[in-house]
């Protein structure tokens, strides 16, 4: 079953683009990872400090292994001081709709 996450981050005022740059750079590690089906970084249209990240992975273990890697931990250390609080992470289970990710 796919492992699907919705993440919300709130940057400190004026720091959203810096956080997005880090998320963009760190996400390049997923480009050649077949277990990563989607990694989508988005800006909120209405709130200038909010970032949403949507993840679809074929399994949880591959995601966790990558997140624990030294390079990923360095990106996290770089991003944390730019955030207004802890990132929120929601694991969800796709159940219906128009999508190939329902499992």
């Amino acid at each position: 079953m796919n492992y699907v996450l919705i993440n919300k981050m709130i940057s400190k005022p004026g720091k959203r683009q810096e956080v997005i740059d880090i998320l963009t750079e760190s996400g390049k590690a997923f480009d050649n990872v077949p277990a990563c089906l989607l990694y989508l970084v988005s800006e909120s249209v209405d709130d200038p400090n909010v970032i949403w990240i949507q993840d679809v992975w074929t399994n949880k273990a591959d995601h966790e292994a990558l997140m624990k890697s030294e390079s990923m931990q360095n990106f996290i250390k770089k991003a944390m001081p730019l955030l207004a609080g802890m990132p929120e992470q929601y694991e969800i289970k796709p159940v219906a709709g128009k999508s190939e990710w329902i499992s």
Copy 2:
């Protein structure tokens, strides 16, 4: 540019499956709509009353026209009494990642 939404709904206790059934049934209207690239209904893994809906459309006008249709309004009327509050809707702009939806 794609029109991308994240929606969060909280059902009244014990009513989540009924809401999901309505979302599943109403979402069938999108199956043959080319402007709808993704319509994904998911359950929260941690909260038994939370539903997340992710939408990717090629444009806002086609989404709005469909949502205003009589059949869709009937589905909304059926779902609203099963919810614990107003649905939250967040428009987002994809900016980076591993996805075909960055525009």
